[in-house]
Amino acid sequence: MAPQDPNAPSGSGSGKRNEDTVKVPAKDPKKKDDKKDEDLSEEDLELKNQLELYVERVQDTDPGVQKNALESMRQEIRTSTSSMTSVPKPLKYLRPHYGTLKAYYETMAESELKNYLADILSVLALTMSAEGERESLKYRLLGSDGDIGSWGHEYVRNLAGEIAQEFAKRQSEEAPIEELMELVQQIVAFHMKHNAEPEAVDLLMEVEDLDLLIEHVDKTNFKRTCLYLTSSARYLPGPDDVLVLDIAYTIYMKFKEYPNALQIALYLDNMQNIKNIFTSCDDLLRKKQFCYILARHGISFELDDEMVAEDDDREALQDIINNTKLSEGYLTLARDIEVMEAKTPEDIYKAHLLDGRASAGASVDSARQNLAATFVNAFVNAGFGQDKLMTVPSDASSGGSSGNWLFKNKEHGKTSAAASLGMILLWDVDSGLAQIDKYFHSKDTHVIAGALLGVGIVNCSIKNDCDPALALLGEHIDKEDPFIRIGAIMGLGIAYAGAQNEQIRSKLTPILNDAKAPLDVVTFTAISLGLVYVGSCNEEVAQAIIFALMDRSDSELGEPLARLIPLSLGLLYLGKQESVEATAEVSKTFNEKIRKHCDMTLLSCAYAGTGNVLKVQNLLGHCSQHLEKNETHQGPAVLGIAMISMAEELGVEMAIRSLEHLLQYGEQNIRRAVPLALGLLCISNPKVNVMDTLSRLSHDTDSEVAMAAVISLGLLGAGTNNARIAGMLRNLSSYYYKDASLLFCVRIAQGLVHLGKGLLTLNPYHSDRFLLSPTALAGIITLLHACLDMKAIILGKYHYILYFIVLAMQPRMLLTVDENLRPLSVPVRVGQAVDVVGQAGRPKTITGFQTHSTPVLLAAGDRAELATEKYIPLSPILEGFVILKENPDYREDN
């Protein structure tokens, strides 16, 4: 309330009399000005007096005068509310009269004038209405239905807020909402026209009627609308998020923004929508781009003639989905960046940079160190098709030196060595299979197992019409020798991850239910099935795995390896949220050794990548309990925290903080899992604070914590060549030079940091961190679960589990291709991505950019945009393969 005039007689009862007394002195300012008036300029004073006059006249008996006064008042208000940096003057001066007018309004008879007054009261309520009264809305509904926007943005915004409250109230009272919805219509239309899409979306979400949006979007605002919709979906509880994304999908479809629509369809894992996109789009070139997006996501998708009519075209498109060109593109990138030269493990260790301690050169091969070198070599040269240990041309020295290196590994080490060939020839099925072939004829079962695994690795994320992997591996899964079986089974899992291949299921499920099969064979079978059917909720597979778990004896379930079986069950429900519940119920009947472990694993897998805060809290709750002996479920719970909260940046930050607490207060088994969780949260994204934490943990007195931290350092810097992590690891290698196990971990981490010589990423998130590739995530968490008991698995004889990481390996590149899919070099700007959601105008999407010409590497958090107008990209997100079309409107400047 504005201060009353001190000169006014106190106790003046009615507002009307009050008005009068105020008015008198105002007419003679020089004599009886109050202090406030003194500050006013001539102009303001005049305005004030004018308004007061109007107020008086509104209460006049003559409708003509009333009308005039209202009109003028309205005129005053409208001219001033257009911009809203402070309370507009007319409103300010009218504040004292709000009560008066309100009172007068009640006394008026129904008439047009009354509606007029209601309008004005509605505006005045904007600043006057008491909290929770929603008077603005009340008078709006009573007033005339004039153009809502004429009172300015602030009014509309305020109204929208009140509608939301009113809506909630009416809904609980089940009162009619029609009149509100009418108003909503108006407001949304206004917002959408005036670049306030977020407000419109917010309002519609409040009143639960997002469909309205579709009518109001147009060419100019649908992008910003959809952007807001998709990014707010992350913070909505289900099923609202799906609803929101569906709307976004519909809008994108409406405006033929198919790539965006495709991404949403992929996010929702909605195959029908994907098909719709293919059928709705009639541009072959754009379809090719869709195929690239599908290929990057790593799902298997069959085109039919409805989607693509021509056989030849369909074949070409299917080829893209099958990733057959991935190897070629990757090598193009490698040649462009000039890193084709193969690297040896010694190039990675850089022992010469270490001072002092350079250990006296050992004269005898150490199996452990050679194994580490095998992995490092495989990781570093992944996909390049050449290295200096395994693929050295066999005529280089007598007997073929590749054979020599192979046999520098011991027993099961040979499996990993032979399989490393698959990693080196990754994605290049044709020459890969040819090179691996010779190992099939070895007499050593370990070598054969490795060759089988290698075949699987080569075919990872590649599909081939002839299904060579299935043909080659299929016949080995029932062999006597458990090593060969494991090699074949694991190979199948890697090659067909996400394929949901019936044939494989029928081949593998019998093993699960074979009570005589050794535990390790069963475990790998379960994982392979989990990978093949990742996120499918396939009940038959789930049944088979559940039976396998029930069949196993008490002692077997106590084995560290057996803990991967529940994981395979979890993989089936990866990211599928509630779908897991039935299975989770069943898991309660399991042997108590594995029950809780299974429970945690299922929970964490089902909600992986959802950012569901409640589930994170649930898991944190489990971590705060004190364990009885031999319980292992807290490890998966800690990993689960990371899996769930990795969905978005904010969640990641919060999870990192929570994990720090666990580190301080948690028990040993939790502390062992924390580094791994940190590694998962920031995979291939070397954040300095996490790096420091891990570096500290890598000197922990508990060697398992240290090992996990070392491996996580590798994950953190995976494929980045990060100099700081490389330096840390180098120092660790000298610090732990006497501890073979830790040194092994350090070597593996070094290999990971230089993964693909820095061209690869392990991040399962792609497309501007919007989409989560299920197979990639499955690969990573399988590895991490194995790392929960490092000594028994990775440092034992199952080190080849490390190769599961291949599922997550993708080039972190932007490769632009022309309409014939040939690489095309164009200038692009690469810089730090900026969050532009809900920002006004056309904000810059990247900052601190540099201009390169494609192909380029994209680091974590980088975004690219074309630096030329000459071409138009067919995908709005410049990642992976992007087709460029010539811009017909482009004119060469000159």
Partner: protein
């Protein structure tokens, strides 16, 4: 007849005909012609798997124009190498040792670093090893006494053990025999063995070996030790006054490098060492006169030993002192100009050859390091540090025994520390591989050659490490003065550390009587310790916190009862002799040394006043700091001052400076670690609470050298990391408690 295309590697074989009436083997033979891959190695993918040789085409559903894929190569099948690869992990332990490329370390048996270092240096001399191997039990001749014989045997056994073992060796047998033969090494001080001079150990051991090895009667080398280490000197003794001159020859085992003000380089020191003045009776003058003795080398050993004379006797203070002057030494020493004319002549020819070869090499490869040249004979020695000479050895010259007078540095025995009675000896030994290993007792560290020359000043390593006890005084805690009214001083009691594990300091009231308290301590504030008996006694121990008021506040004993009697017994049992008022705790300390104590974390020590860890050697402190990445933490000088909180940035930077300032007034210093648990629940009387009891709760650790009297603030290192988890590996440490006494 069908036409299919076959994809093989990167090739596409078009229009291959299939005769569907023939078995697939025929088709494979067709492909063999095209690709050269033998049929049995072909893998052809058809629907549902691989094409079998005897399959029926009609059931396979191969269609006209279908693309088949064939896998297979004509490459040679990989074969395992004929000779199985041997892996380090498979080797028995002894062979793993070889693998390391260097020998094992030696455990410190209590100030035996002098001995360990000496052994490591001598162990690097292969000729000595082989000579020892020839020495047999039975071969003892009569002119060697039993103890020498035993010492030789012990040396031989120890050497072979060093060669075999991966892990550090405990030279027990050798040490016992050494003490038997030379009882001076068994000297004890405060019931612990004293630090000894490595030079003495070196020369005694060499002497013994030369005696016993000579007598083995082996014909070829009547005196192998002498051939290896003996230096023949020819001296001219000249009297300036009388002009008398005589010459004499002698054989010594080491050259001395005297260090004076003008000596900056080893060479200069050696020259000094070869010139000496002596006073003797001159027959011609009939009285004693000054003679000048100038020696020259007349015969070179294979291994030349040089001793840096760094320790000398300070007459005025009656103390041994150490010269810290930096004296450079080269990696390759040419002593040609110290040789006699005769020797020079014999050296000339080989030297010329060497120069020629080097010239040749330089022409070809200017960067070739001289030490690589095989025909060079080198030996040099230097002992650095105090009076210890250390032997160094030359590369043997296998093909031509010709000496050139040029020696390569092969081993260094150094003394770290500022004073003669304390410090630490380490040996640096060059391996056959050319790498240097620093043997620090049981830890061998590979080092770089450059680092060796950096050792040239003893001062570089100024921290001392010897365990010597401070005077048994009752140190005053903090900076309080000894005023008559109420003196506050902590009493030092040492405990073996692991006792804390059992009981978290649950001392019961009765147990305290086990201490014989100094008679002049009337009230013994045990509250701090007793309070440690965990939460449930918390109430009773409240009254027993230190009262630091000047009125000599009486601390009451908590009646915590010995509810856990069993385990307390353990505790006191380990307390050992009580620290008396005059002999003091030092005895306690020494007797209670614990080797290989394991600490599993102490848990909350709620009312503990302060615990320190006492390390016998400062290197353990450094080690610990390194492990906790606290090397950069600064020693701070405040723990015991009232009302001061510590931060990481307090204090002075240089621990050495703090010590050296008062070098002469201190007994040798030791390092200790202090641990404090500061519990807010602890009642602190009023605002003037003692800093250690100040009401904030955090664990802090500080590391400080042990002062002889606690009058001054301790310089200590401080940090709030949970350092106790890091101590697991530290052996040889003690714990002490500070307890307040009110006099």
């Amino acid at each position: 007849m069908l036409n299919v295309s076959v994809k093989w590697q990167k090739e596409l074989l078009k229009a291959v005909e299939i005769d569907t009436t023939q078995p697939p083997y025929v088709f494979k033979c067709q492909l063999y012609d095209l690709t050269g891959v033998p049929p049995e190695r072909q893998k052809i993918m058809v629907k549902g798997g691989l094409l079998k040789d005897d399959a029926d085409w009609s059931t396979l559903g191969v269609k006209e124009g279908q693309k088949l894929m064939m896998m297979g190569t004509a490459d040679e099948v990989v074969k395992a190498p004929e000779k199985a690869i041997v892996f380090a992990e498979d080797l028995p332990e002894e062979e793993q040792a070889l693998n390391l490329g260097y020998g094992a370390g030696l455990f410190n048996l209590g100030n035996t670093c002098y001995m360990n270092s000496t052994i490591q240096c001598l162990h690097s001399v292969p000729e000595l090893k082989s000579a020892l191997i020839k020495y047999s039990h039975s071969g003892r001749s009569n002119d060697v006494d039993q103890t020498s014989h035993m010492l030789t045997i012990a040396t031989r056994d120890l050497f072979s053990e060093l060669d075999k073992s991966v892990k550090a060796v405990a030279p027990m047998q050798f040490w016992m025999v050494l003490r038997k033969k030379y009882p001076q090494f068994g000297q004890q001080h405060n019931s612990t063995f004293m630090q000894q001079d490595a030079e003495e150990c070196w020369s005694q051991l060499l002497y013994t070996l030369s005696q016993s090895l000579r007598s083995t009667g082996s014909s070829e080398s009547p005196d192998s030790v002498k051939a290896l280490f003996g230096i023949e000197l020819v001296s001219r003794v000249h009297c300036v006054e009388s002009g008398e001159e005589s010459s004499e020859t002698e054989s010594v085992y080491s050259l001395k490098c005297h260090i004076s003000h003008e000596v900056n380089h080893l060479h200069e020191g050696l020259k000094h060492g070869l010139k000496s003045e002596l006073e003797k009776n001159s027959p011609s003058l009939g009285r004693s006169a000054i003679y000048v003795k100038e020696s020259l080398i007349n015969g070179l050993p294979r291994y030349l030993t040089i001793q840096f004379v760094r320790f000398f006797w300070k007459r005025e203070s009656n103390q041994k002192a150490k010269i810290l002057r930096k004296v450079d030494y080269p990696l390759q020493l040419d002593i040609f100009d110290l040789c006699s004319d005769d020797l020079r002549k014999t050296l000339e020819a080989p030297r010329q050859r060497l120069r020629d070869e080097e010239g040749k090499k330089l022409g070809l490869k200017p960067s070739e390091k001289s030490s690589d040249s095989k025909d060079k004979d080198i030996k040099m020695s230097d002992a650095e540090g105090s009076s210890n000479g250390s032997g160094e050895s030359s590369n043997p010259t296998p093909d031509e025994g010709a000496m050139t007078g040029i020696y390569d540095l092969v081993a260094v025995l150094t003394h770290k520390g500022r004073s003669a009675d304390s410090g630490h000896y380490v040996a640096w030994v060059k391996q056959e591989s050319g790498k240097w290993i620093q043997y620090d007792d049981d830890n061998p560290y590979p080092q770089k050659e450059e680092d060796i020359t950096k050792l040239s000043g003893g001062a570089a390593h100024s921290l001392t490490c010897q365990l010597t006890m401070p005077k048994p005084t009752y140190p005053c805690f903090g900076q309080r003065s000894y005023d008559k009214g109420g003196r506050f001083s902590p009493l030092l009691i040492s405990l073996p550390f692991f006792s804390l594990l059992f009981e978290r300091l649950q001392l019961s009231h009765q147990r305290h009587n086990a201490f014989s308290l100094p008679s002049d301590v009337d009230t013994f504030a045990f509250g701090a310790v007793c309070g440690g008996s965990i939460g449930r006694h918390g109430g009773s121990s409240r009254g027993s916190n230190f009262s630091d008021s000047a009125s000599g506040g009486v601390a009451t004993f908590p009646s915590s009862g010995s509810s856990r009697g069993n385990s307390s017994a353990n505790f006191t049992g380990l307390l050992g002799p009580a620290p008396g008022p005059t002999q003091g705790f030092s005895n306690g300390f020494l007797l209670l040394g614990v080797l290989n104590a394991k600490i599993l974390g102490l848990g909350p020590l709620n009312y503990l006043y302060a615990i320190g860890l006492h390390f016998t050697q400062i290197k353990y402190i450094m080690d610990l700091l390194k492990r906790t990445t606290m090397l950069e933490s600064k020693p701070i000088s405040t723990t015991a001052i009232s009302g001061r909180c510590l931060t990481l940035h307090d204090g002075e930077l240089d621990i050495a400076k703090v010590i050296t300032k008062r070098d002469h007034e201190l007994s040798p210093l030791d390092g200790s670690l202090e641990y404090q648990r500061l519990d807010p629940s602890l009642p602190c009387k009023g605002a003037h609470s003692h800093s250690l009891l100040s009401p904030f709760c955090r664990i802090s650790l500080s590391l400080f050298p042990f002062d002889s009297d606690f009058n001054s603030p301790f310089p200590c290192r401080f940090g709030d990391k949970n350092m106790f988890t890091k101590i697991n590996y530290v052996s040889d440490l003690f714990v002490f408690l500070f307890l307040g006494t009110s006099l």
